[in-house]
């Protein structure tokens, strides 16, 4: 089984500072990490490798220094790593990024592609699903568990108030959640081998056969950022238990009334 894991290098902060003029991230002085959901994606892939056996390739698009994230993925146990880096790729939004990732993934003939649900810097949760669309393969998002079968996966998908168990045949794409798995530590030997490894860098020339130059980079990005802001934590919610239907309805109506919603 061939698994590809898409990872992104992000600034290590939930309180991202933004340049007020350009609405882009100020990265200076902020240490970079593998995006937490993507690290969970690596763990999910490595668990399949530990169980059913698989070769796992980590793929990252970013500037040359994103190589550090790939070395970390190798030190965790990935077999291969590929960096997608080119001047032409700069300024890509999710749509353009997915286009580039899909072009690279197409070359690898992977059975399973795993990505994190979303990145902590952009919070869009778009790239994984967009890659699946570009490749024309099934996608399952918000996965807590992935069980690999001979010809596909069974995924436990988190929903607001329940789980869905969904099957998909290979090739397919799954996006996973950081809260569901505790990623493994690197190993010391892994870090040594990671720096002995050769990480191929694929640029525009390497991917241009499957890539429309008008769909990538800043000019290929339809997103126009109007405003960026740090996200607010969603409230815990209130669970009403042990009430009859009538009591529950009355309590909810009363709460809504208190909050001036009705």
């Amino acid at each position: 089984m061939k698994i590809a894991v898409c990872i992104k290098q992000v600034p290590d902060t939930t309180e991202v500072r933004l340049d007020p003029k350009t609405n882009t991230l100020i990265r200076d002085g902020v240490p970079s990490i593998i995006n937490p959901d993507d690290k969970a994606a690596l763990e999910a892939a490595l668990r399949i490798k530990d169980g059913a056996g698989a070769s796992v390739t980590a793929i990252c698009m970013g500037p040359p220094q994103a190589d550090v994230a790939l070395r970390e993925a190798l030190a965790m146990g990935c077999d291969n790593a590929i960096l997608l880096s080119a001047r032409e790729f700069g300024g890509s939004d999710t749509y353009a990024t997915a286009t580039i990732l899909a072009a690279a993934l197409k070359k690898g003939d992977y059975d399973l592609i795993i990505a994190g649900r979303q990145a902590i810097d952009g919070d869009t949760a778009q790239v994984g699903p967009q890659v699946a669309e570009r490749l024309g393969i099934p996608q399952i998002s918000y996965a807590e568990e992935i069980r690999a079968e001979a010809d596909g996966v069974v995924v436990k998908r988190q929903y607001e108030d329940c789980y869905h168990l969904i099957e998909a045949k290979f090739p397919c794409l799954v996006t996973v959640l950081a809260e569901a798995v505790q990623p493994r530590h690197m190993t010391v030997r892994g870090t040594v081998e990671a720096y002995a490894a050769d990480i191929p860098v694929l640029g525009f020339e390497d991917l241009k056969d499957g890539l429309n130059p008008d769909w990538i980079g800043l000019k290929g990005s339809p997103t126009n950022v109007v405003k960026s802001f740090a996200k607010q934590l969603k409230g815990q919610g209130i669970r009403l238990a042990g009430l009859s239907e009538d009591e529950a309805v009355n309590t909810i109506v009363q709460k809504l009334d208190e909050l001036c919603i009705i």
Binding site: R71, V188, R189, T191
Partner: protein
């Protein structure tokens, strides 16, 4: 001259730090209270490859270097001094002896399981009457047929409670003094080998540290390390290397206590403002960090010299002498900044202060370090 860590060392530092914070820190206080090391934690460190960091992959080690080992010692000791000494005695005392002085057969048989972490090692040198005066050891080894028969008693043997391999030092020829001492690989389960309960101590209480008794232990001839009479030299070389690890442990303890203090002084309010707003606090913190950085640089210099194949004995002694003093001063300073809460066992700084003291004593006291440094300067 390069003062930044390589990318590879940075990645290793990240591994050691995240492991220490996630796996060791939550257990440190309970292990200290229980005076017992967690077997599960030993297993996790084994999986991450913490027990063979500077040893060749040929023998199953991680294939990293001594600077990487120092980074590990520093990060684990920031949260727990006991973990530091557990790794250090195994790595830079026990494994070092086998790696430097073992035959190929001995390395395959004994070093391999030690550096891959499936077995644990200790270093059985100190005796009740022979501390700094190593050559005064009373434990004897007498050749009888194909075996050496060991008799004697060792004290303060770190890791001995769970060790599988004991590098034991014994006198084979009393006439020759220091040159009459030899080193042996003693294996757990050999008849006559017994290990006492943990010796109650002031600090590094989670580490295993016991009395080891050799009562007619028959050790096969093939378990002699190097040649008869090389024991003193082997012990001194191992201690030279070990001191780099202890210096790193001291740096870690100091930085760990300082990090806790920095966090605390920003939160703690007295006289209507955080105590970090007082210049006395700022000056104290500044002095402490400067001391820690100086100790760290001496320690990295010693590790880098060893990695470069240069003489490092004197560098290691200076690093240990200075870093252990800094560890005692800085941890004490951290307790002072915490005030009454620093004295309470709820916070980790009192444990760090207790743990720091031993770094001035074991693997050569500060006084012995000065003898080594002055000796290297030919001041006799």
């Amino acid at each position: 001259m390069e003062f930044t860590l390589s990318k590879q060392h940075q990645l290793q530092q990240q591994l050691y730090r995240s492991f220490a914070q996630a796996e060791i820190k939550p257990l440190a206080r309970d292990m200290d209270e229980a005076e017992e090391y967690s077997p599960q934690l030993l297993q996790k460190m084994q999986q991450a490859g913490f027990f063979g960091i500077p040893y060749s992959t040929v023998y199953g080690g991680a294939g990293a270097d001594n600077l990487s080992y120092v980074l590990c010692m520093e990060e684990v000791s920031k949260v727990d001094g006991s973990t530091g000494i557990t790794i250090s005695v195994h790595t830079s005392l026990c494994c070092h002896c086998l790696n430097e002085f073992g035959s190929e057969e001995q390395k395959q048989k004994h070093l391999r399981p030690l550096v891959n972490g499936s077995k644990f090692g200790c270093f059985s040198l100190t005796e009740p009457g022979a501390g700094s005066d190593v050559a005064a050891g009373q434990t004897t080894a007498v050749l009888d047929g194909d075996d050496y028969v060991l008799n004697g008693s060792k004290v303060f043997t770190t890791n001995s409670g769970f060790a599988d391999v004991f590098v034991a030092f014994a006198v084979t020829d009393r006439e020759k003094g220091a040159r009459g001492m030899s080193a042996f690989i003693v294996e757990k389960g050999m008849p006559g080998l017994s290990v006492s309960a943990n010796i109650p101590r002031m600090g590094i209480r989670a580490a295993s540290n016991c009395v080891v008794t050799y009562d007619g232990v028959r050790v096969p001839k093939e378990n002699l390390l190097s040649r008869e009479g090389d024991g003193f030299k082997i012990a001194m070389k191992a201690l030279d290397a070990g001191r780099i690890g202890i210096a790193a442990q001291a740096v870690g303890l100091a930085q760990g206590a300082l990090d806790e203090a920095v966090k605390y002084v920003k939160e703690r309010k007295q006289f209507g403002k955080p105590i970090s707003a007082f210049q006395n606090t700022q000056f104290k913190i500044a002095e402490m960090q400067t001391q820690v950085d100086a100790a760290r640089l001496l320690t990295y210099r010693a590790a880098a010299a060893k990695d470069a194949g240069q003489p490092y004995g004197s560098h290691a002694a200076m690093a240990k002498l200075f870093a252990s003093d800094v560890a005692c001063q800085v941890t004490r300073g951290a307790v002072q900044l915490f005030g009454g809460y620093g004295y309470a066992r709820e916070y980790p700084v009192e444990r760090m202060m207790r743990d720091a003291k031993i770094t001035e004593i074991y693997e050569g006291t500060s006084e012995v370090m000065k003898m080594v440094i002055a000796g290297a300067m030919k001041v006799k």
